[in-house]
């Protein structure tokens, strides 16, 4: 892997990696990625016909920057509609990003031509949520897994392709006897294995796993998680593991990023974020996860959030979480908190905490230590 190109790009104005752990080079660098969906509206004509006259834009992903390092699993959690799946798809340009950059091997994926992009797809693969919808029902397993092999000409002729498919099937724990079977003849877990084999067929470096286990039975979830970890070790894969299941994310991830309404609100080591969440939303999210232990459940204190997740159409100004945050103050409505390093390698977006006062429960009422950080003020000025 030559990363010379990447370094030049860094020099050419890319912000430094968010987490330069051990001086490693990131495999993927996402910078200020935006995916907006324009729903239209707000024209004079609409007002004439009694419409609300508001131009509606879904800011599914709104300025996300993060680095993903080789060999790690970055967990991405958030509630439905927070934009986590859109982020995963925009990374692979299955959804066209509205703005921002995605650097991979020194190239900005967002600027590749269609043809170049198709060549790059070899290194970037995806595992889908729904093991029923993600496999073409009219193709045999061999055709499904063989398709990427054929597309990137990774094997010579039919026999070559077939032996590669057999190998892949064994790798994911499927008997090659089932080569000629169709997806509907398999169970959910088996289908997910087929989906994983297809993702591996092109021998990728990076795999986006979009809710790979949420459609599966509990006992099968463990199988798939273990399989993914096993493959990661064996093939030195890098994962972006997207899920709403915090327990699963905590289990498979090295680092976890929490997303809320299109923005990253906290990024930290998986163990740390679970033990010691900083941002109020993460706190609530983690305290909401039921623990399979009645002793713990009886003792634990829960932050039960009021209200629903606001619509991503024209989301609330300032900190997007202020409408539900038990610690919100007046300033939260105005200031968009940037993702700041509160503790070492622990980033959080909240103006009510700062590196000096990281514990929001101990911050004086009404105080916003984060605002004393010059970075925050700059944001405030920018937005007003």
């Amino acid at each position: 892997m030559t990363l010379g190109g990447a370094q030049e790009t860094v020099a050419a104005g890319m912000p430094p990696p968010l987490i330069a752990a051990d001086g490693r080079e990131p495999l993927i660098s996402i910078r200020d990625l935006k995916v907006h969906f324009d729903l239209g509206g707000g024209s004079k004509l609409e007002k004439l016909f009694g419409g609300k006259g508001v131009h509606r834009v879904v800011k599914a992903v709104d300025g996300v920057s993060i680095d993903i390092f080789p060999g790690e699993t970055l967990g991405l959690v958030g509630e439905s509609g927070c934009g986590k799946s859109t982020l995963g798809r925009a990374l692979l340009r299955l959804t066209e990003p509205t703005g921002g950059q995605v650097f991979f091997r020194g190239r900005d994926l967002a600027r590749l031509s269609k043809k170049e992009l198709r060549q790059h797809r070899r290194y970037l693969q995806m595992i889908f949520q729904d093991p029923y919808a993600s496999l073409n029902p009219r193709m045999t397993v061999s055709q499904i897994i063989g398709e990427p092999v054929e597309t990137f000409k990774l094997a010579r002729g039919r026999p070559g392709r077939e032996s590669r498919v057999r190998e892949l099937m064994q790798t994911v724990g499927l008997s090659p006897h089932f080569l000629k079977r169709y997806p509907h003849e398999f169970s959910g877990g088996q289908r997910q294995r087929i989906g994983i084999a297809r993702a591996l067929a092109a021998d990728p470096d990076f795999v986006v796993a979009d809710e790979p286990i949420s459609a599966l039975d509990v006992s099968i979830q463990a199988q798939i998680m273990n399989l993914m970890e096993h493959l990661q070790r064996e093939r030195k894969l890098t994962y972006l593991f997207i899920s709403h299941d915090l327990r699963a994310v905590r289990h498979v991830s090295d680092r976890v990023a929490v997303m809320y309404l299109g923005k990253l609100v906290e990024v930290a080591d998986a163990k740390v974020i679970y033990r010691d969440p900083l941002m109020p939303y993460t706190k609530a999210l983690i305290s909401a996860v039921p623990v399979p232990d009645p002793e713990v459940e009886a003792r634990r204190e829960r932050i039960v959030l009021q209200g629903d997740v606001p619509s991503p159409i024209n989301p609330p100004p300032g900190c997007r979480f202020h409408t539900r945050c038990p610690w919100a103050i007046e300033a939260c409505r105005e200031v968009v908190p940037p993702l700041a390093e509160i503790k070492s390698n622990h980033f959080a977006a909240c103006i009510r905490i700062s590196p000096e006062e990281p514990d929001i429960e101990k911050v004086a009422p009404g105080d916003a230590p984060g605002l004393r950080n010059p970075g925050h003020r700059a944001v405030k000025i920018l937005r007003h």
Binding site: Q125, P148, T151, R181, Y182, E185
Partner: protein, 375 residues
């Protein structure tokens, strides 16, 4: 599944073959150690975990159900599955058989009748005493005879020969018009659905406009304007006219299919693996859109045939000497009080065919509809 029904299968072997590890066989199981890769070392061992009886390689554990011997087991495709389901549907099978019989009879029948009795569909007997309508299975002298199983019409022509000849035309009208509607409908609908946006808007608005015009009127106008030159020409005009109006629904169906498939995860998956656009269309979209199209085409045939009969009945369709079931019925109804067989035979044949085709279409829909799949 057969394994689970057979009680005495040596259980040690089954998990072994399907790669389900047991303590004893895990190391030697080929499914667990992919070629060229050493078995993975145990990771993050857990202290005091007595239940962790399976080796770590259990990740390669096949959740495969049944290995039936060592050969590759060919699966049943959805097409095969649908075919099996169709064969279980008695009405559909009945429909299929009836349609097949009538089609064969229409194709081969007139030739056989000519050999046997010398009558063609337009043979008018030379003897003027015979130029009148005889009842079925009756000779001119009133005795029993096989010569005219369905009797003759007012011009002394053999009704069976005419019904079979009419069947040729009626079936041909149904098939050819449906084919025309398939070609136009699929092209139109797939283009609109796949390209989307403005193209979609334009194409579908055109369809909407055409929908708004009463189609029978178009056909009648077409036939009235251009028809009447020669009987054969009239028939071709009929094909074209009926085909040209019956593609509208087909276009809508295809468009809907393509749009819903376009957003399916497996199409996304194909894009994610860098598959080119033509391959996505022909490998992923088309085969999956085919089911409803087949069903609709099967149901279009009888509806077109009915339209043809209607037009012929009005005297706008097939002209003498050619016959179709519609024109035969039209002639028959004029004499219904005296010579009922002139109406009954073509009428019943047509009704039987239409019923059968509809049964077949319904059966196909049930067979091809994925919603009907068990569980």
């Amino acid at each position: 599944m057969s394994e689970e029904r057979t009680p005495q299968v040596p259980t040690e072997q089954v998990p072994n073959e399907e790669g389900r590890p047991t303590r004893a066989v895990a190391d030697s199981d080929p499914a667990l150690t992919p070629r060229g890769t050493p078995p993975a070392p145990p990771v993050r061992p857990r202290a005091g975990d007595e239940i962790h009886a399976f080796p770590e390689t259990a990740v390669g554990e096949g959740d495969v159900r049944v290995p039936e011997g060592a050969q590759v087991v060919a699966g049943t495709s959805l097409w095969k599955d649908a075919w099996k389901r169709l064969l279980k549907n008695r009405l559909a099978v009945f429909g299929m058989i009836v349609v097949a019989i009538i089609a064969f009879a229409s194709v081969l029948g007139p030739g056989i009748i000519k050999r046997a009795t010398g009558f063609e569909y337009d043979t008018i007997p030379a003897d003027s005493n015979l130029v009148r309508s005889f009842p079925p299975l009756t000779a001119p002298d009133g005795s029993f005879s096989w010569t005219h199983p369905m009797g003759t019409d007012s011009a002394g022509r053999d009704i069976l020969a005419r019904v079979l000849q009419g069947g040729r035309i009626s079936l041909a009208v149904g098939l050819i018009s449906t084919l025309v509607s398939l070609i136009i409908g699929i092209t139109w609908g797939a283009t609109a659905g796949y390209l989307g946006g403005k193209v979609d808007d334009l194409l579908m608005r055109i369809v909407d406009v055409l929908y708004a015009i009463p189609y029978m009127m178009i056909v009648i106008v077409l036939l009235a304007f251009f028809g009447g030159q020669s009987p054969l020409y009239q028939i071709f005009l009929l094909f074209a006219a009926l085909g040209a109006v019956s593609w509208l629904t087909m276009a809508r169906i295809v468009r809907g299919q393509v749009i819903s498939l376009k957003n399916q995860e497996f199409v996304l998956a194909a894009r994610a693996t860098g598959v080119s656009t033509p391959k996505i269309i022909f490998r992923h979209l088309v085969p999956n859109a085919l089911g409803p199209v087949i069903v609709y085409a099967t149901l279009t045939i009888p509806s077109v045939m009915l339209s043809e009969a209607f037009l012929s009945f009005l005297g706008l369709g097939v002209q003498a000497p050619y016959s179709s079931w519609g024109s035969l019925s039209s002639e028959g109804i004029q004499n219904i009080a005296i010579f009922p067989w002139q109406l009954i035979f073509p009428g019943v044949t047509m009704a039987l065919t239409l019923f059968s085709l509809n049964f077949l279409g319904d059966g196909l829909r049930d067979a091809l509809d994925p919603q009907m799949r068990k569980f």
